[in-house]
Symmetry: C2
Subunit: 356 residues, 2 copies
């Protein structure tokens, strides 16, 4: 395929913007030559950086924006201040206008989600967007969502996440019918989880329509890679992701101390250094950077704000793959193949009726 | 201290009972000589095992029970079938009767929680019990609760968990005023978390009364050991614990593959073998086995059901330390020092009033 992919970039989002962003784009371009970039942000800061990376300059367009959204700004504030003017908003607007295939920002998550939802609007039939993480497991990468786009969920929203996650798995992993699991606790007969059970019933009935419903999974099934898509409510998903990140850092730190402990272990580490470096690269959080906003009329990727050019390179690569694999078409197709979803679209589910 | 500690043991709980349980007791006794055991279960299975471990026999009493609760039995079923007759119930009853200082079972969690709650009853002023985990972190061990005793919580229940967790930290770690954090997501202005914010306000006001309120923490703060006690609702706590276990196994598996990858790495692993074995021991889940049921009139420890004698040894050691450190007195003392808790004891909180 020779068509180029255009990525709309909030050049001002993140702790090390715009330098880390532009440098990251330079590295991403080396890996994927047919990428074009539209950078939104302060011309006077971006232009000298493009001069530093001459290969990047001819495939880049700069759109000047004066307004920059701060990392600690509240979503509602950010929306008031930055709608139509900020680098974050304009990056999303480029996707809406059809100028770019996908937008990316390392800016604050709440503000980005608010702007993306306001600008792109949720897809027909999807009540609320979700953030999907691509999670490395012992088997292969899997999709976990929602990572905290919304707090609380009902059965119908979990079903939406299952559809969106399946579409993402089909786009990224070429899985024809990805397996989907609902995150739950093992204990039987627990109260307060009726919405998960109800979602399970709905997914059971629709299993086969673009995904295969596996059943409930527990926290340790994520790392095992038991299913291709793990579906959960946003608060739980966010805690799970950060707990896993914390645990990975903890174990890595234990390993470093162990290998520094004695002369023999230091010699051992020297012999094993190339294998240990490979492990370090595998566990480098910068290589799996990027949350995918799902359920909107357009693709938006959230990069970690604190990352460097390597992190941005990964997130831009992810953005490229999303666009190349025609994620939006696959989401539409999965929704179309989902009879329950269509049937339920007009009528509230039991849970919704109860909570109303 | 020369007083002995008596541990009441459900000898039939867990996948490898009673052999792993009795063998574990034998190992635990070697480390803590002044332990006495009351084993509940099938006499004909337990007696021959005690013959195998002659040191254990003189400090052990066997109470025959015919009924054994299965690992997949529903709590309500288990309670109907096993109340007053099963090894699980009788292990708890020994604590209620004052015969033992603490009870332990590797049987099914839901059934054990139901029986413990029914038999021992929640403490005055505590609405619902919680399960606390002792979680190894980069700083030191910390307490995380609730691990899934109950699903869903309101502000008042989180405050209860903070009191119970602080008391446990004081008993186990000799911390005079343990720091307490409420698990939350970083995003500002999220909806549906009013009960966490309300708990935060209540804990702020009471900070200093046997604990120090730190504020909100996120998932990665657990592994960092940011606070001594992390408080969360049971579903989230259970997912966090299992996700962390899964991640630790995943990283350990990556490490094993890396060190087997090349001749050089295998030589390196040989040199570093003693350090790597120490790391393996440190990460051995059997060494941190045991969930502590908190908030009841008596101490009950849940061991992993699938563990072996090493796991039971750890859980029995934990049970011993709980009793030795006079956990129940410390819980009472912490509650007594907690003005908000006492004041709120009679009147429903805002959240409760709203949800009523």
């Amino acid at each position: 395929m020779t068509d180029s992919i255009t990525i709309s970039v909030d050049a001002m989002g993140g702790d090390h913007a715009p330098r880390a962003v532009i440098h990251g784009a330079h590295l991403a371009l080396k890996e994927r030559k047919n990428t074009r970039f539209v950078f939104h942000g302060r011309q006077e800061q971006i232009a000298p950086l493009l001069d530093e990376f001459p290969a990047l300059k001819p495939v880049s367009t700069v759109r000047h924006c004066e307004t920059v959204i701060a990392m600690d700004e509240k979503p509602s504030q950010a929306l008031r201040k930055g709608k139509g003017t900020s680098s974050m908003w304009m990056a999303i607007q480029s996707v809406k206008d059809g100028e770019a295939d996908v937008a990316i920002s390392g800016g604050n998550t709440g503000a980005l989600m608010a702007m993306a939802t306001f600008c792109l609007r949720p897809m027909e039939g999807i009540s609320r967007p979700g953030i999907a993480a691509i999670w490395p497991t012992l088997r292969s990468d899997i999709i976990v969502l929602d990572m905290g786009a919304t707090i609380g969920a009902d059965a119908r929203q979990l079903v939406d996440y299952a559809i969106l996650g399946s579409a993402l798995a089909r786009a990224l992993f070429d899985a024809e019918s990805p397996s989907v699991g609902l995150l739950n606790v093992g204990t039987e007969e627990v109260k307060g989880l009726d919405y998960i059970k109800e979602a399970g019933r709905m997914l059971s009935e629709a299993s086969g329509a673009g995904f295969t419903y596996h059943g409930f999974v527990e926290g340790d099934d994520i790392g095992k890679g038991t299913v291709d898509v793990v579906v959960t409510e946003g608060f739980v998903g966010n805690v799970a992701l950060k707990t896993a990140e914390g645990t990975a850092r903890q174990v890595a730190s234990y390993l470093r101390s162990s290998l520094r402990a004695t002369l023999m272990s230091r010699i051992g580490a020297l012999f094993a250094s190339s294998a240990l470096n490979a492990l370090r690269r595998k566990m480098d959080p910068r290589t799996v950077n990027g949350g995918v906003f799902m359920g909107l009329n357009g693709i938006v990727i959230k990069s970690h704000g604190g990352t460097d050019e390597i992190g941005y390179k990964s997130a831009l690569g992810l953005a490229y793959e999303m666009a190349r694999s025609r994620l939006m078409d696959k989401v539409g197709d999965t929704m179309h193949r989902f009879p329950i979803h269509k049937a339920a679209a007009g009528t509230p589910t039991e849970t919704e009726a109860r909570s109303a």
